[in-house]
């Protein structure tokens, strides 16, 4: 059987041309005569999880936490700075060690875990220092960053069509987020409203609209694809 597009002869076990993906149509007799595949179906078993490294790092993290706590109680009879150190180790563990336990961790779940860990750390600092900035500033800021990062992951990982629209939308959203951040900054620290965020909104807005237009105007899209392909 020959491929009508490529002109190459195709081996008898193929159902599409491997070069141009043109489907091959066989009659019943030919189907019966189709040869067996060149390779078996068996996929290699392979674990991506780096469990030995994860166990070593877990042990090291636990050891560090234990030493810090013992030291603090020995010297001061209370936790004092040890709390910060323990939470730092906890954040490090969530960001770098936790993913090693899994074969393939969904990046969105990973981002959610990391931001929860960071929020807890900030809450601890807030309580320890007697501040009142966590609920009105740190938590909303963290949530805004988390949402933007998740949207960026969705764009890179899951969106194959309409990327320009999506990217434009995200950039406009980042601009609007900056206004929200400044609003929370104003609520917490009593600063002036909408000073720096307006610049961000304008820049992000222009760039975002440009990307959306690029999605609509095909020649512009092709030009950008050629110019900035990665």
């Amino acid at each position: 059987m020959y491929c009508v597009k490529c002109g190459v002869k195709l081996s008898d076990d193929l159902t599409v041309c491997p070069l141009c993906q043109t489907k091959i149509y066989y009659n019943e007799e030919q189907i019966k005569a189709i040869k067996e595949k060149k390779y078996p179906e068996t996929m290699p078993t392979r674990s991506n999880a780096n469990r030995s490294l994860a166990s070593i790092l877990t042990m090291l993290s636990l050891l560090t936490i234990s030493i810090i706590l013992i030291l603090c109680y020995q010297v001061y009879d209370e936790i004092r700075w040890g709390g910060y150190a323990v939470f730092s180790v906890g954040v490090f563990y969530c960001v770098f060690v936790l993913p090693l336990w899994f074969k393939k961790i969904n990046p969105i779940i990973s981002v959610l875990i990391n931001h929860t860990a960071i929020s807890l750390f900030l809450l601890y600092i807030n309580l320890k220092t007697g501040g009142d900035w966590f609920l009105s500033f740190a938590l909303p800021l963290n949530i805004i960053i988390c949402v933007n990062v998740i949207l960026a992951i969705i764009l890179i990982k899951y969106v194959s069509k309409g990327r320009y629209f999506f990217a434009g939308g995200i950039i406009i959203l980042i601009g609007l987020s900056s206004m929200l951040i400044e609003f929370f900054q104003h609520l917490t620290f009593d600063t002036k409203m909408f000073v720096w965020s307006l610049y961000v909104v304008v820049c992000c807005g222009i760039f975002g609209i440009f990307l959306i237009l690029a999605g609509i105007i095909k020649p512009l899209k092709n030009y950008l694809n050629k110019r900035f392909f990665i």
């Binding site: 002109g7 002869k9 390779y39 078996p40 780096n50």
Partner: protein
């Protein structure tokens, strides 16, 4: 038992340093025989060759300053083949064995970690394994050939030497090179490799190559470069076009008269700059052939060897712990090795077996894995009157293969296509 260990040869030093959890540098030789493989006899043949090829029955170990190869007591166990060639070799697997012996129906394949040997060395082991298998299976005597050695012959010192150290000079060649066009695409899921084999008649290929006054390797390289130029033209603006270069591993055994079965191969990059103007296939053949002639001389190659050997003699580098060496070597490899070429074309050449083996062996193929950052790699081997052009890729798109094989058809070379997908 006091087991031998070997230092990695000069070329091999790089491979453990640059491998990661998704990529190991390996190649594969496979033969299709005229009957279903008997795994028990194959295992016996593998066991019988252990004494004759001690440098192959090794595991990769990590020392403080360098990696080394530890001879293994147990021989690797033969196993059934997988859905695609050259599946990932993990550190854990390499620790026990640096090669895999695979079988599937009437095919025997051996996959080698490149740290142990190169294509020619691997081919000597592979053909000797086939010969031993046939000897046991059919109780026949097989004569010697350049690729087949007798399993009870003694091992010579020259076979195990690191020939790079013997054939170097005091004038290391510069590593400076311009970067080359890199193909891009959508990564295959689960690190799957898609293999497309183009089978052409060697006589026809030779005839067309002769028409262009060049060898088969030069001709195929020229066609590949022409294909890459065409793809780059379609995808990039003229002012952003990069050099199109291909890495060709050069077997140094003939050049320096070495008998080693370990690595003794050096890559050279050949190519053109598409910005300078349009190239016809004839222009490309002339240019590539002259680049080959210029590069492949004992003096030039000795200088290239020197640039690899000399750093090893540096006491500071020697005393640097392995993890730091890995970082440095990884960076050098990335800059000087990967980015400077679009893909490799490795031609094993014509495999000539003793006449007693020919009736049993239908085809012999050579497959290399895509490089760390390149997405395609091409390997070529010839047996009887057929040349097998294997293009292995780790992306979904088959654009390069389509353009390349269509060009061969247009040039009047009939191509039969096989694949592990489709």
């Amino acid at each position: 038992m006091n087991r031998n260990w070997y230092r990695l040869d000069t070329a091999a030093l790089l491979f453990p340093a640059v491998m990661n959890k998704n990529w190991s540098n390996a190649f594969r030789l496979e033969a299709t025989i005229n009957h279903e493989v008997d795994p028990f006899i194959l295992q016996k043949a593998v066991d019988d060759l252990q004494v004759r090829f001690p440098s192959f029955y090794v595991g990769l170990r990590t020392g403080f300053f360098w990696c080394y190869l530890q001879q293994m007591e147990e021989t690797p166990k033969v196993m059934s083949d997988f859905a695609y060639p050259l599946t990932f070799m993990s550190y854990k697997e390499l620790k026990n064995s640096c090669m895999r012996i695979l079988y599937y129906k009437n095919r025997i394949a051996v996959e080698f970690f490149h740290g142990v040997t190169d294509g020619t060395g691997g081919n000597i082991y592979f053909c000797s394994l086939l010969a031993r298998y046939l000897e046991i299976k059919f109780d026949i005597e097989i004569g010697k050939s350049p690729f087949v050695v007798n399993h009870d012959e003694p091992v010579s010192k020259e076979e195990l030497e690191d020939s790079f150290h013997k054939h170097t000079n005091d004038y290391p060649a510069s590593r400076k090179e311009t970067s080359s066009y890199q193909l891009k695409g959508t990564k295959n899921k689960n690190d799957y490799f898609t293999l497309i084999t183009g089978i052409v008649e060697t006589t026809k290929l030779k005839e067309i190559s002769n028409r262009y006054n060049c060898t088969i390797t030069v001709f195929l390289t020229a066609v590949m470069i022409e294909s890459l130029i065409e793809i780059q033209k379609e995808k990039c603006l003229p002012q952003l076009q990069k050099h199109v270069k291909i890495t060709i591993p050069v077997n140094l055994r003939k050049l320096f008269g070495s008998k080693t079965v370990r690595n003794f191969v050096l890559p050279i990059n050949v190519g053109v700059d598409p910005k300078k103007g349009d190239y016809s296939l004839k222009d490309l053949c002339i240019s590539i052939a002259s680049q080959f002639n210029y590069e492949i001389t004992t003096q030039n190659m000795a200088s290239r060897i020197a640039s690899n050997v000399n750093p090893q003699k540096n006491i500071l580098l020697q005393a640097t712990p392995l993890p730091i060496k890995r970082l440095v070597m990884g960076a050098v490899y990335h800059r000087a090795g990967i980015l400077t070429s679009s893909l490799n074309i490795s031609n094993l050449g014509l495999v000539k077996l003793p006449k007693e083996m020919d009736p049993f062996i239908e085809r012999i193929e050579f497959i290399i894995s895509p490089q760390k950052n390149n997405i395609n790699n091409c390997s070529v081997s010839s047996y009887k009157n057929h040349t097998y052009i294997n293009i292995n890729r780790n992306i979904v798109e088959s654009e390069l293969e389509r353009v390349f094989f269509s060009k061969l058809v247009e040039l009047g070379i009939p191509v039969t296509i096989e694949s592990n997908r489709g």
